[in-house]
């Protein structure tokens, strides 16, 4: 193997690629060639680094210097300064919010400092398309240990002792699941990786598959050995083409190295894996629905029990674990259950990956020990709320989860504490919301999502999610009544109890938590006909402040409804009857002037624009969508 004096690790995760990482990589390769450095400097495209907000990202090793928001035109100067003259380039480094001094090294940046990497240990440091790089960092060492030194019983015992729980949602103990499948009669047996990550705002599974596919494959080899499976499936969303491609490459390489196929490592154990692409249905993430999909059917869930460990794929014992769960397995086998159980809280061991998105300064993917407080995640790692706005809530667990308010920011995050707060771990999407987020609108957003994604098999979910969405739509339109609030609570309880699968059972959570923690916002919509966050279109209005308007005509030109009148250099006005509340005027009004105002005066206030808001309802408004 050739050795290089420097590695240029370019993040090639989806976030960075979307903002031009491949152009940066090409520029790096061109410049390295132009300078004749090919034998000294190696350019590597890695999996997601996690700090998506700052993409495209480059890490220079062994110096550990972190460059961010790169453009191809930055590259010649960067190569010349850093790699030829040995002077890192402060201009391209990360500067923390409200500070002036750049932080040169990645390990000193707050975003990375508080993380603990087990599942993502290889992120940003290996080429995910090279099995050799994976092996150089202990890849497949755990599989070899399991195959040559352990029995199925000791593997199951080790996983059980580690305290590992399912990372896909409910948090079922992985060791118990494996033991149940092991006990169940019937052959053949199967192992399945659930990579149907459908929660909007969650992308940790994709990131793991893209950054370190061999860790997932290795975990599945160990699981297959433990339960006696000869075949396995990786079910991956079709929306994740890069993950599908990287896993495909990894499978080929593993077969070539004798790590999959017949007689693995000469131990007589046969096992192989294939990729099944999902076809875009949120419900396929539910385990029984996922199996139906693998079998070629519509993804309908079915009643449990019997659980998949007894009657799974084609009626045979099947272990289904989520991507992140599988990726934890090799580290546990390699380093021992006691090591893993030493991290986290009494009931939740190890780490959890969260995708930190929404109104947060440092959007990205973070892996933290269980038991860390929400405050540490949001403020310590996430850098707080941008633009000087106030934190309002964090939604955890996607459409199945709930909103957690500011008063619970010191909550230690684990399976039990989140459940007690009315939310759930889910897959680990964390959406941060500030004072500009309307909690009733958010509840409506999730219920519309649930309604659309309900498979329709059971009526509590099929009918109930739609009924709740309609009630919420009435409230956001200012047509809600006190009865509607009561009806919403009853319906939520019914759907929670009566639905067949997790989708329906958890669909009311966004309503229940927002009603619990933000009831005042519901009441403002219902009684005052006011949206405090200025989001719900039917309850807001736009006006131009005559004292600041300079008559630049930008808003008049932009207005699609022709609702703005005014002569050049004279104060403009908005015709409330014609206004469709699209907000374009606000977005084009120059920041120096800021004459366009958005308000929600409500029904009771003097000079209320309620009449014009109502008039809008009969016009071409899209507010009801």
């Amino acid at each position: 193997m050739t050795t290089f004096r420097a590695h240029l690790l370019v993040c090639a995760g989806t976030g960075c690629v979307s903002c031009g990482a491949f152009d940066v990589r090409r520029a790096l390769e061109d410049e390295v060639r132009r300078r004749g450095l090919e034998r000294e400097v190696l350019v590597v495209a890695t999996g997601c680094n996690g700090f998506c907000e700052r993409g495209p990202i480059l890490l220079v090793q062994p110096d550990g210097v972190f460059y961010q928001r790169l453009k191809p035109e930055d590259i010649p100067g960067l190569i010349e300064e850093h790699l030829i003259k040995g002077r890192p380039v402060p201009r391209l480094m990360y500067v923390p919010p409200e500070e002036r001094e750049p932080v040169p090294r990645m390990r000193d940046i707050e975003f990375f400092k508080h993380q603990r990497l087990i599942v993502l240990r290889n992120r940003g440091r290996i080429d995910p398309e090279s099995i050799d790089e994976s092996i150089a960092y202990d890849g497949y060492a755990a599989a070899a240990k399991a195959l040559t030194e352990m029995t199925p019983e000791t593997i199951v015992a080790e996983i059980t002792a580690s305290g590992l729980r399912g990372r896909g949602g409910a948090g079922f103990p992985t060791g118990l699941k494996w033991a149940a499948a092991r006990r169940a009669p019937g052959t053949p047996r199967y192992v399945v990786c659930n990579g149907d990550e459908g929660d909007p705002g969650a992308f940790m599974d994709r990131s793991v598959l893209e950054a370190d596919p061999h860790a997932v494959i290795e975990g599945m080899i160990i699981g297959a050995l433990a339960v006696g499976a000869a075949r396995g499936f990786l079910y991956i969303r079709n929306e994740y083409p890069l993950a599908v491609a990287r896993v495909g490459t990894a499978l080929e390489q593993a077969r070539r190295y004798g790590l999959l196929g017949t007689d693995i490592l000469g131990t007589g154990f046969d096992f192989d894996l294939e990729v099944v692409r999902g076809a875009g249905a949120f419900v396929s993430g539910e385990e029984t629905a996922l199996m139906a999909s693998i079998e070629g059917n519509r993804a309908f869930p079915r009643q449990r029990p019997p659980y998949p460990t007894e009657r799974g794929l084609w009626g045979r014992p099947t272990v289904i674990n989520n991507v992140e769960t599988w990726a934890n397995v090799p580290s546990i086998i390699r380093r021992g259950a006691a090591w893993f159980a030493g991290i986290g809280t009494a009931t939740s061991k190890g780490t959890k990956i969260f995708s930190l998105v929404g109104k947060i300064a440092n959007t990205g993917l973070v892996e933290v020990p269980m038991g860390i407080s929400l405050r540490e995640i949001v403020y310590g790692i996430g850098g707080g709320i941008p633009g000087g706005r106030e934190f309002k809530a964090v939604q955890i667990g996607g459409p199945s989860g709930g909103c957690i308010p500011k008063s619970l920011l010191d909550l230690a995050v684990d399976y039990e504490s989140l459940k007690a707060a009315g939310s759930m771990m889910g897959s680990g999407g964390m959406i941060v919301m500030d004072e500009d987020t309307c909690m009733v609108d958010i509840a409506l957003y999730f219920l519309r999502f649930a309604e659309e994604e309900s498979c329709g098999k059971c009526s509590p979910c099929r009918v109930g999610t739609g009924a709740m969405a309609r009630l919420l739509a009435r409230i956001t339109a200012g047509e809600g009544t006190a009865d509607d609030l009561a009806r919403l609570e009853t319906l939520a309880a019914t759907v929670k109890q009566g639905s067949l699968c997790g989708l329906g059972q958890t669909a009311p959570n966004p309503i229940l938590t927002t009603l619990r923690y933000f009831r005042d916002e519901y009441e403002a919509h219902v009684f005052d006909k006011r949206c405090p966050a200025l989001v719900c279109k039917r309850l807001i209005s736009f006006a131009i402040d005559p004292s600041t308007c300079v008559g630049c005509r930008l808003c008049k030109k932009a207005c699609p409804a022709g609702a703005i009148a005014g002569e050049p250099k004279k104060v403009h006005t908005i015709d409330q009857d014609a206004c469709t509340k699209c907000g374009l005027c606000l977005s084009v009004c120059p920041p120096k002037i800021r004459a366009v105002r958005k308000t929600s005066a409500g029904a009771g206030a003097a000079g209320s624009p309620t009449a014009s808001i109502r008039a809008d309802a009969s016009g071409p408004s899209r507010g009801g969508r």
């Binding site: 979307s18 959007t363 969508r625």
Partner: protein, 157 residues
């Protein structure tokens, strides 16, 4: 729009193993033609020995399959939660207004299809829109016109 019959037959014939191959073969056809023409469903049903109703059931259940042909330009607006809290809905409104169609539809001249997606997983760039594979990050209503104008050479409006 007709699909070349020979190509369709070749894609469908690749499938074997009955029902288990159904979703995969439909995906291959969708990837190639960007929709599932009626003759494709019939061909697949015949090749896999399945009732047409079952093929149709699967094709209509999953979101990634389209049973109507799509436009020459594809505009996708992300409405994942991160995009939603950063104003994604207003971006979709503006696309709908400019194209004169609602999400999920194609303009009558076959030039544009407007789609919404529940998360592209590039939440750092929110709100996000994709026009013909090009990502437009931190979108504003005012930037929609520019995103569309890049495609206009190819004759819409």
């Amino acid at each position: 729009m007709r699909t070349p019959k020979s190509e369709l037959e070749a894609l469908s014939a690749k499938a074997s193993g009955g029902k288990r191959a159904l979703i995969q073969v439909l995906q291959d056809i969708q990837d190639r033609f960007h929709w599932l023409p009626p003759e494709a469903l019939e061909q697949v049903a015949a090749d896999l020995g399945l009732p047409l109703a079952q093929v149709y059931g699967v094709a209509t259940f999953y979101r990634s399959f389209s049973l109507s042909s799509r436009g020459r330009h594809i505009c996708t607006v992300c409405l994942g939660t991160a995009c939603h809290v950063r104003g994604g809905a207003a971006i979709l409104d503006e696309f709908e207004r400019r194209l004169g169609i609602t999400a999920g539809r194609t303009t009558p001249d076959g030039a544009y299809t407007l789609e919404r997606v529940n998360c592209l997983g590039a939440c750092a760039l929110a709100p996000l829109a994709v026009v013909d594979g090009r990502y437009y990050s931190r979108m504003t209503e005012a930037k929609v016109a520019a995103a569309l104008s890049g495609t206009e050479k190819d004759g819409h409006g």
